[in-house]
Amino acid sequence: MASALKKELEDLLRLRRLQREGPPLRGEDRRRAPLPIGIPALDDLLPDGGLPRGQLSELYGAPSSGRTGVALSLASQCTAGGTLVAWVDPLDRLDPASAASAGVDLARLLWLRGDPSVRPRALLRAVAAAGTLVDSGVFDLVALDVAGFTASELQRLPGATWLRLQRALEDTAAAGLLLSGSHLAHGPRGASLCLQAQGAEWSGRPGPGRLLAGLAAEARRTGGTRRAPLHLRALA
């Protein structure tokens, strides 16, 4: 009797989706549920409505294209749902105050800060740490921020680096995210989003009292033709 009632309740929850960010119910395979970025325009661009789990995805663009803001939006979606996020940051660029203002629950964020003074070693250590984090099975999102490294620095990595990371992600519930300045790598079913900066938006005319209102950008899937406008509000 009790189990029948419980099943009925679960069916109701599943049917009505009372909780958008709720954990998977019994019988649901969480590996199939993608991680929504939390920005409808970008989620609509992706075939599954979010970053696929078990795959390496990438988010790339020039400085001020909003890649970090988008990645932190994704992280805030994960932490709001009670899951854990790992942020591997070899150049030590994450600003915790910005992350908190983007909605990230900092207590659910594991932040590994590299030492920018030893850049090549920091990159190698970061890639190794990302593999360890994926293997642990603890995190739903493992983000590796290599934006800021030059193309030549990234090319010095062993050729199979990203392939290995993709193989480590397969059959796990984690989504891997590469944050970079240019197209780098993604898994066979992983998402690849390119952000193009469209410039800054200001609150008024030049002069005292003017504020940075936000950033405008345009997003498209690599190889796709659809484009989505993106507006990011400026941090406080």
């Binding site: 960010e21 954990p23 203002s101 909605g103 659910r108 964020l109 800060r113 984090l133 642990s136």
Partner: protein, 432 residues
């Protein structure tokens, strides 16, 4: 035969007294904080006489800096009462307990104050006086307590010895025929030690709060490592991983001849799972992960950031990664949709990609606003800007004061600031 061991020194912890007693017999009963009762049956084959046994007990207690009072008797009551009352060593032969107790004052029995006062008013001064009274007459006057007091004064036992359960140690050791060098063969041997250790802990309903690994090396020295995971755990595979990760960073200097692992037991935790919350990672898995990331966390470069209650830009502290339980605060029946106000609060934000430390910059001004910015890896004409926003603080400590600008260059949008105390410009980071 029974032994009473009493310490006249009040500063000695009771555990020391028990340790002395357990050195002679496992059957030990604690009578009070300063007195223990020992069951010495069967020790005649080790000590030739009760006097030799008593002397050994006194010597051992003196070595532990106790002031021992020891009494050996064939009745438990006599052993305890004599140990509490008579300094040094007292040995009472069989059947002579009443005679040995007779000269002791009534207070030796530890009577309650009204009873002791009543007996004194009757003219009784010693246990011998009390033992000589007829039990029937005392029962008429004091009830059931009367005959009981007489039995105690005569040294007759009223209850059996109730031994304390022996402290359980969880230890497993392995002596090797041939020394082992290297961590890989050691990992297989560790499994042989840890599996039975985990089984014994599991049988006792315990987990390991910490593990101590002692490696005896071929040169006779010992290499000891302690491992204390974030939460008590009972999974031998995780223990092995934690110990091996620790040995990787602190390897033994020589080949290993013997292995011993000791576990500090802790009660198994009770976990309440939730139907609606996301499943949280097991503490074992989390402990293993943090051990693997020791290279980061030991340098203070891995963990959870926490904001500091200050206006100083970029201030934060790193703490250990210990995600809390959700506790159901998030759950409700509200459907969050794009049109609802809650969605507006979640609009994506442009955030700062900080430069640590801030990059020194050269900034040209035009009409008191930046017109050109030059810094390592960054150079360009300012296409638009907002500012200045003045901020300062910590004047009572390490003061800071700055004018901040958001500047748009062709390469991106950056936050620059002028340190008003030093008069120099810096780039704080990139807005992304």
């Amino acid at each position: 035969m029974f032994g009473g061991l009493h310490s006249a020194s009040r500063t000695v912890p009771p555990a020391v007294l028990l340790d002395v007693a357990r050195g002679f017999t496992p059957r030990v009963e604690r009578r009070d904080a300063a007195t223990v009762l020992l069951d010495l049956q069967g020790l005649g084959r080790t000590w030739r006489s009760p006097e030799a046994l008593g002397a050994a007990l006194v010597d051992d207690a003196r070595r532990r800096e106790l002031e021992p009072q020891v009494a050996l008797a064939w009745s438990r009551v006599a052993a305890v009462v004599l140990a509490r009352s008579v300094p040094g060593l007292t040995v009472v032969g069989p059947g002579r307990e009443s005679e040995a107790l007779a000269p002791l004052p009534l207070a030796a029995l530890g009577l309650e104050a009204p009873t002791g006062e009543l007996l004194r008013r009757w003219g009784l001064r010693t246990l011998g006086d009390l033992a000589a009274l007829p039990p029937g007459g005392l029962a008429e006057r004091l009830g059931a307590q009367g005959p009981r007091l007489v039995r105690l004064a005569r040294g007759e036992d009223e209850r059996p010895l109730v031994p304390l359960p022996p402290p359980r140690t969880f230890r497993c050791a392995l002596d090797l025929d041939w020394p082992v060098d290297g961590l890989e063969p050691l990992s297989f041997l560790l499994a042989r030690v840890l599996d039975p250790l985990a089984a014994s802990l599991r049988a006792a309903g315990q987990l390991a709060a910490s593990l101590t690994l002692e490696l005896t090396l071929v040169d006779g020295t010992r290499h000891a490592r302690a491992c204390r995971p974030a939460a008590p755990m009972g999974e031998p595979r995780t223990w092995r991983t934690l110990l091996l990760l620790d040995l990787e960073s602190h390897p033994p200097a020589e080949a290993v001849q013997a292995i011993a692992v000791t576990a500090e037991p802790a009660a198994a935790r009770a976990t309440q799972f939730s139907l609606l919350d996301a499943a949280q990672p097991a503490p074992e898995r989390m402990a293993e992960l943090m051990a693997r990331l020791l290279e980061w966390t030991s340098e203070g470069r891995g963990g959870s950031p926490a904001l500091v209650d200050t206006h100083r830009p970029g201030a934060f502290v790193m703490g250990p990664f210990a995600p809390p339980a959700l506790g159901g605060r998030r759950h409700g029946t509200t459907v969050v949709s794009e049109g609802s106000p809650a969605w507006g609060e979640r609009a994506p934000r442009a955030v700062l990609r900080a430069y640590r430390p801030p990059r020194p910059a050269t900034v040209e001004l035009k009409d008191d606003a930046p017109s050109f910015v030059m810094a390592p890896g960054l150079r360009g004409e300012v296409l638009g800007c907002a500012g200045p926003w003045r901020a300062s603080g910590d004047w009572w400590d390490v003061a800071w004061s700055r004018d901040e600008w958001d500047v748009a260059l062709a390469a991106g949008v950056y936050r620059v600031f002028r340190d008003r105390l030093a008069g120099t410009w810096f780039v704080a980071g990139e807005v992304d």
